[in-house]
């Protein structure tokens, strides 16, 4: 899910909407330091939207807590959402153009057609 927060579509194309057909749960070692560092780079609203798209049973507050470092529960939820959900099959949809980028075997295909390139 971290990947989907980094990816963008054709020109501005962010955030990409996710349509997941197959989601896998992965177990990843919790690295508090990593999560604390990565959070400032996350587009938080986009992440919440992604959680919504996937219908995950995770609750992320509407706005990020002020003292993120101290909020262990929030950090653990972020860890889960960012690293422990893998979309194996599905689509990423560009908000600008509606263009669908397929995800197959866990790999998004972000290649553009010649006609989409200015």
């Amino acid at each position: 899910m971290l990947t989907s927060n980094i990816l963008k579509g054709v020109t501005r194309g962010f955030p990409l909407k996710i349509k997941a057909d197959k989601v896998e749960n992965v177990s990843v070692d919790y690295n508090r330091d990593f999560i604390t560092r990565i959070i400032p780079r996350i587009e938080y609203d986009a992440l919440r939207a992604a959680v919504n798209d996937l219908g995950l049973n995770e609750s992320l507050p509407e706005t990020m807590p002020e003292a993120v470092q101290q909020d262990d529960e929030f950090l653990k939820t972020m860890h889960k959402v960012l690293l422990e959900y893998e979309i194996e099959e599905g689509e990423l949809i560009c908000p600008e153009t509606g263009r669908k980028f397929p995800i197959s075997k866990g790999i998004p295909n972000m290649l553009l057609q010649e006609t989409e390139v200015s």
Partner: protein, 323 residues
């Protein structure tokens, strides 16, 4: 393969880079597991300066640098879906995306570090190589993000490239590059390949019922130009004048040589050859400087030669850019 609506350099790269990589069997591809020591050092430094840094490996192949360091979060992208799939099988749940170096699907100013190891030398024109570097710089964070580029050097100890644009056989890493034509029969086989490629292009054009003439002609020209460019003249003629780096390849007729490699099986079959533009000393720096004009704060901080590659580290620092 549908060639309609494709620009010429694109088609050349499709045939001599992407199709070749996609055709190689997975054992050949997974054999390449050696990490360049200096790339490893670069990553070590990035990790020590920014713990749990975010890194992008552009043109990551089978992912050898992605899982190299557990104290970095590296996301890979590659043009070849086959390579991405192999990487994903090798390292389960590795973050990897199929993408084009010229249109990186990443947000701006995001990564602590970007790797471009042995990638941009596969791009057939100056403009495309330039754009690739600009894309890599665009996604670097504004306060000290670093890009490491490795490209194959023209200046080599063990071999001699007679031209900067070459086709290299990929079955054997030690093979000599195809930059000399052996004799007339090889030339006719290469002509044959040209004809086949052109027939395919024409077929596609006629299928779309468009007037194929201009497209086919320009395709034909660029194919011819590519073959001409990589064919070296006889040793008695003076050394090739520098080919200017332009998008339109210049056409030059040259006489054919006597080969100095008698025992060599030269094969211009696209199945076996990958396109490389090998870099001359100073060329990479010039390219980076040109690319940096469009990207705020980018500056070369180190350039060096490593095992047959010209290498450079480019740092992005918005404060420096404002000076």
């Amino acid at each position: 393969m549908n060639y309609q609506n494709r620009a010429q350099p694109d088609v050349l790269e499709q045939i001599y880079v992407h199709d070749v990589y996609n055709r190689l069997d997975s054992t050949t591809l997974t054999q390449d597991t050696t990490a360049w020591p200096n790339v490893r050092k670069f990553l070590n430094r990035i990790a020590s300066q920014n713990k749990n840094a975010l890194v992008a490996d552009v043109g990551c192949g089978t992912g050898k640098y992605i899982k190299l360091k557990s104290d970095l979060f590296t996301i890979g992208c590659d043009r070849s879906n086959q390579l991405c799939e192999i990487a994903r099988e090798k390292y389960s749940h590795i973050p990897i995306v199929i993408a084009d170096n010229l249109y990186l699907p990443y947000r701006d100013n995001l990564f602590d570090a970007v790797l471009s190891i042995g990638v941009i030398h596969h791009l057939t024109t100056h403009q495309r190589r330039l754009k690739a570097i600009q894309e890599c710089l665009r996604i670097l964070k504004l306060n000290g993000g670093q890009l490491l580029i490795y490209t194959w050097a023209m200046e080599q100890k063990q071999r001699q490239f007679s031209s900067q644009d070459v086709l290299v056989p990929c079955s054997n890493q030690q093979s000599r590059s195809v930059d000399i034509i052996r004799d007339k029969s090889s030339w006719s086989s290469s002509c044959h390949i040209q004809e086949n490629l052109l027939r395919r292009i024409e077929q596609v054009d006629s299928q779309t019922k468009k007037t194929a003439t201009t497209t086919t002609l320009s395709m034909l020209e660029s194919m011819q130009n590519l073959f001409q460019r990589i064919i070296k003249p006889a040793s008695s003629t003076p050394s090739t004048p520098k080919l200017s780096h332009q998008d339109q390849l210049k056409f030059r007729l040259r006489p054919f040589p006597m080969s100095s490699f008698d025992d060599e099986q030269i094969n211009l079959n696209p199945c076996n050859n990958r396109f490389y533009h090998v870099f001359k000393q100073g060329e990479l720096e010039m390219l980076i400087e040109e690319a940096s004009k469009a990207i705020a704060g980018a500056k070369i901080i180190k350039s060096y030669y490593d095992h047959g590659n010209w290498c450079a580290i480019v740092q992005r620092d918005i404060d420096v850019g404002l000076l």
